[in-house]
Structures are given as C-alpha cells and as structure tokens.
C-alpha cells in the first residue's frame, strides 16, 4: 500500500510549532516526518491510530466513554473547589472549553505556565 503524503503539517511538540513538516502515513501510523527535528520525529512516529488504551477507566476499571463523562461530571459538580489544570498538549478549541468548565464550576483554572 502506498503512503499518503501531507504537506506543511504542524508539529506541536515544542513551542516552535514548525508548520513545514511533510508527513508520510498509511492511516494507521506515520512512517516519515520530513524536515522535523529529532524531537518532532519521535513525536509523530510514536503516535498511532491503533486502539492501545481502553476508552476510559473509572476507579481503575475499564468503562465506556458515556459512563466516564457522567462520573467526571458528578465528581466535579460535587466538589467545592475543583481545579482545572494543564492545557499544554491540547488545542485552543479544547482550552476554551476548559475555561468554560472552570467558569461554570466556580473553580480554579491554571496552566503549565505557573509551574
């Protein structure tokens, strides 16, 4: 099977966010990341579309996505002072949802910047 090529892909490993990477993939894994540095190559080649992990874990047991979302919502809603933290390895669209989450919970919101 021939590989598909994506030009000018964006690497999100470090703050350089290089947007000139050429990716060669077969829809399951990326085989080559041209112009990427050592760190970027490792980042692209180490992620696959395979199902390696369970959809979700609740109290250490495998659970469905719906159960996990309900459990997460219940735990966060029950808390008096929940913390929303991280947001480094995620998209701006998800970060906006996180800000909305902290807002409606009346909780704390913080990123890696403060570490």
């Amino acid at each position: 099977m021939s590989l598909q090529v994506i030009d000018n892909a964006t690497c999100t490993f470090c703050g350089c966010v290089c947007d000139d990477i050429q990716l060669h993939h077969d829809e399951v894994r990326i085989h080559e990341a041209k112009r990427a540095c050592v760190l970027g190559t490792a980042w692209f080649l180490n992620h696959t579309a395979e199902k390696k992990h369970p959809d979700a874990l609740v109290d250490g047991r495998e659970a469905s996505l719906d159960e996990a979302i309900e459990a997460a919502a219940a735990l966060l809603h029950a808390a008096d002072m929940p913390l929303v933290y991280g947001m480094s390895n995620t998209t701006c669209e998800a970060q906006k949802q996180c800000a909305a989450l902290a807002d409606q919970l009346g909780g704390l919101l913080d990123s890696h910047t403060s570490l």
Partner: protein, 321 residues
Amino acid sequence: MGGKVTCTLGEVKQRADFIVYWGGNPAECHPRHFTKYTIMQKSKFLPRGRKDRTMVLVDIRETKSAKAADIFLQVKPGKDFELITILRAMIKDQHVTDEQIAVTGLSREVLDDLVGRMKGAKFGCMFFGMGLSMTRGKHMNSAALLTLAAEMNAFTKFVAMPMRGHGNVTGADVIMRWQTGFPFGITFNRGYPRYNPGEFSTVDVLVRGDCDAAFIIGADPGATMPQPAIEHLKRIPTIVLDPHVTHTSRLSRVHITTAPQGIAAPGTAYRMDEIPLPLKPPLKSPYPTDEQVVRRINEAIAAKPFWMPEGSQPQMLTAQV
C-alpha cells in the same frame, strides 16, 4: 501581548543581528530554532546570514548551545536577576561596583563589551528560557529582562521573547487571557475571574491541599510535580484526559483516552511568538478529541443545579442600572 516588548519570529528571522539566549538550551530543546528563525537564516537585511548575526548565550553551565554561540557568559547559579540589574545600570552609564559585578561570576570587561554590542546592534532580541524564569527570582527575573529590553529601546530596537516548550502552552495563555483577562493562576470562586499566582497557581494549591477535585488535561503532573502535590492528587478525585494512560491516570478516579492533538485531533496551536497555526492531523483516531469530551462534560454539569444560590450571582453592570 500582555505588555511585553516583543515581536514575531518572522521579524527576528529578517532583522535581528544581535540574539541573546538566556537560560535556555535551544540546541537540545528547540532544535530548529537556530536554523528556522534566528542565527542561520539569510534575509534581505542580513544577506550573509550567520556572519551578519551575533549570538550570546547566558547560562549557568556550558550546554550544547554554547558551541553555536559567539559569546558564552557563564553566570553564577541564582544570580540572573543581579546580572540583569547590573546591565540595566550599565546601559545608562550608572555606577556599578566591582563587588557587585563579582557576585555574578563575570568581569567588568566582559560586561562592557556586551553593553557595547547591545547598543551597537540594529535589532536585538533576547530569548529567555526556564533557566531564567524557573530559578531563584522566578517571574521577577522575566520581568527584569523584559524591562531591560524595554529600556534598550532608548538606544536601539530591542525585544524579548520567552522560549516556550510543551506544545500549545502559549495557546493556553492566550485563550485564558481572551476568556478571563488573566493568563494563568485564576479562580472563579466568587463567580468572576480573579488572578493571583502563588495563591491560585496549581503547585501551591496542591501542596497546601486547597482543592477538593482536579481535572487534568494535556499534562502529566504525576510525573513532573513535587511529591506533596502528587500526594494531594491521590487524596482527591482526579480526572485525567490524555492520549496515553499516564502516571497521573494511574492515581486518578477517572481517565478518558483522547485523540492526540495535531496527529489525530484537528484545531489550532499557538507558536511561542503568539502566532496561531492550524493543525493538519494525518490520522483518524478511534478516540474522541479533547474538545468533544470537555464539551460533553460541560453539558452534563450544566444539566445539574448551579453551584451558586439563585440571586447571589454577580450581575453585569447593565443589569444593575
């Protein structure tokens, strides 16, 4: 831009003939920074590329980046703030004693030469890394360096820029600034955003044991935070969203696997100079994206009763008149 005297990496690439890296190791942590944006690039204004540019590295030890530098200044650990303050005085020809200089581990000749080069540059840019912002003095060091950059503009064009790691951490700053007015360390516990790093920043909150639940996304504090913070994460219900089962997932009550950004999840990421770039994910993940999951959690919480009693919510000014 939060009041920084800064610019985009495109301007650095085109114009910066004097580049300082302070407390960072781009050769190993941002491998393409030299070649893509700074010292190796030829441009209209710097046609000879590397020959037209001067690079200074300030660090506490000789890292791999020192090989690329024209001048390497080995500052004593924890004396960055002193060195910046001395430079701020020296550019204005204010008196600095030999004892004050000796504290930094550098000599007057070296600093005179540096100040001369800084003032002689057409466009100077100082990149500062965690070696400056995460050591003794913390954000005061960053503030001092940004002030030095601002004050250098009395003599020539000068800017400063943080070297951000961790993918889209710049995006997190930008999104929080846009949504709340503050970049990090925020609380909504009065119904409106308030900002106080040290009080509302995560490490402090966890070490004091202030929060009673944690929602962790795109980070692995279980592997990076100090032990007392991890102990608190174990005590409280923790929810983790990550493409992998991480250290934090193992101590959490709920883990949800999500698609990795830029590889299987589309969206936007910010470069360190606050330029938003679209992602081009090549793969289709069997997992949902972070955005989809957080949106669904938001909807599930919105269906439950709101935490503030009716009538006690802060009102908009327009609602009061």
